[in-house]
Amino acid sequence: MVKNDNGQLYTIEGFAAALIMVMTAYLVVNATSVYTAGDTHINDMQLEALGSDALKMMDVAPNRTDAETPLQGIIRTDNYAGFTTMLLNYTNESGSGPRHDIQFNASYTCRDSNDLTHRIQFANSRELTGGEHTVRATKWVMVYKDIPECDLGIQMDRAVLLEVLLWRD
């Protein structure tokens, strides 16, 4: 058998050219998509989970009884200051150390007799300016109340949707 090793350099050159073309095609196809940094949305996810958990804890009655939960009482009595204190206790405190710099803006919506929804600004720790990067945590709350904006004439059980926008300073 005769080992014919002519043209090896040409073969290598051919491979190199093919790979360069594949690489070029790859770069061109990828150039249209923009990647953000990988951890951008992880903060949002954590903040949203934190907010949802805090609201869930606020809607649990002491000792797992059927009694009114703190959150239901807060909405029934329009206790805005109590809501601010309790939510920030759950989200913003870090032992006796520094705060987490979490700010919030809370409102709830109810339905009137014409099936229109009314948003009732509830409490906030800081005014929204529009520049904040917020996430939204929501919680259904059963409340025994005659809500003025969604008046049905009598005090009765209603379901309202509490929405909390959370952001970090």
């Binding site: 090793d5 002519n6 090896q8 350099l9 290598i12 491979f15 190199a16 790979l19 690489m23 990647y35 953000t36 940094a37 990988g38 951890d39 951008t40 949305h41 992880i42 949002d44 996810m45 949203e48 989970a49 949802s52 869930k56 059927d66 919506t109 109810c110 339905r111 099936d115 929804t117 945590a137 929501t138 919680k139 259904w140 709350v141 059963m142 049905l152 009765m156 059980d157 209603r158 379901a159 309202v160 949707l161 929405e163």
Partner: protein, 120 residues
């Protein structure tokens, strides 16, 4: 034409292979930055908390709120879900043989969730 000098072809070939393997390693590193993003995005997009929350409130209404009022609360939940959460929520229930059966339907356009819930 000068004679083609074909010395050291193996060295050149190995050089090419190594440089291209570096290129593919760089691709792997490049993709790794995207992994956290897509994971967090899919976690945010999946409405786990919404479903748990709407289940919770439906269970409360069915088990605790008596007849005429529960019609009002049913409309509260369906209308507010549509207007504020962009999700279609529907539920029905009946009681038979000491058990309450609750059917829950949830659809936000991406995720659909249906449940037959039996409360003894």
């Amino acid at each position: 034409m000068a004679r083609l000098n074909d010395d050291a072809q193996w060295i050149i070939l190995m050089g090419f292979l190594i440089s291209f393997s570096f290129f593919f390693l760089a691709l792997v590193i490049n993709q790794s930055t995207v992994v956290g993003q897509t994971t967090a995005e899919s976690v945010i997009e999946f409405p786990k908390n919404d479903i748990r929350d709407v289940r919770d409130v439906i269970g409360n209404v069915v088990m605790r709120v008596p007849y005429p009022q529960n019609v009002t609360v049913y409309k509260d939940i369906t209308v507010l879900s549509m207007n504020r959460k962009g999700s279609v929520v529907e539920y029905s229930n009946f009681t038979a043989a000491n058990a309450t059966y609750i059917q829950i339907h949830y659809n936000n356009g991406v995720t659909e969730y249906n449940e037959n819930w039996t409360v003894l």
